[in-house]
Symmetry: C2
Subunit: 133 residues, 2 copies
């Protein structure tokens, strides 16, 4: 998560997990880290969901996306009921270790609405003519 | 943020902002919403940062990415000091309104380390031979 910092600040260390060859994944104070899911072939950003240490371990060992459902308070294997599983091709962690990016091959739509991506609603910019060009 | 829910759960409503033509953006209990930043041309996911209502309004009115720095507790115009601004081409909100996706034209590297993307560290999968294929 880019937080505009030039270096480490003095805040208390949250829970973290050392990963071979990839430094540290830092979970927030609730034990979670956001994971951006991107389609490996098309580059489309499909969704963002939360992982805890257990779901990250399951993702790494099975090669499928596992998340933590905050509303249901349970581990959640994406596509286990719908069939729209996500096979992980690459998993990356950002510079300060508190956000993940999963490049996946998706078996079907990511969104529960049936859209391929959860990001299917556009917010119009308010630029006047000529601005932003 | 896909949270594995089929519909609305019974939790208390967080602060939200109605946006013309795009439904509602729902900020979390601290008034923030995560924003995924993706390069519009290459599809590369560059970074994830937080927006509050003020930074979202500035992003929409200026066409440049504005965030909220949690560590500095201040509005932050990406690239204002480094020159690596991000011109917003499209802004999208996800199905349940609590995550944003900005498609941008980046003037330079997104990461303070000089990498083009903050996601430059790979976490090796633990799959055995033949798995994940």
């Amino acid at each position: 998560m880019d937080d505009g910092r030039e270096g480490r600040d003095g805040r208390l260390c949250p829970p973290s997990l050392e990963l071979a060859g990839a430094g540290t994944v830092r979970f927030d104070e609730t034990g979670l880290v956001p994971c951006v899911v991107q389609e490996a072939t098309t580059g489309e950003v499909l969704m963002v969901a939360w992982m805890n240490e257990a779901s990250l371990a399951l993702t790494l060992s099975t090669g499928l996306t596992w998340f933590w459902s905050r509303s249901r308070q349970e581990l959640w294997n994406k596509g286990a009921t719908s069939g729209n599983i996500q096979r992980v091709r690459r998993l990356l962690v950002d510079c300060d270790g508190d956000t993940l990016l999963a490049l996946v091959e998706a078996a079907g739509p990511a969104c529960h609405t049936g859209h391929g991506t959860c990001f299917h609603r556009e917010i119009p910019l308010e630029l006047g003519a000529g601005e932003g060009e």
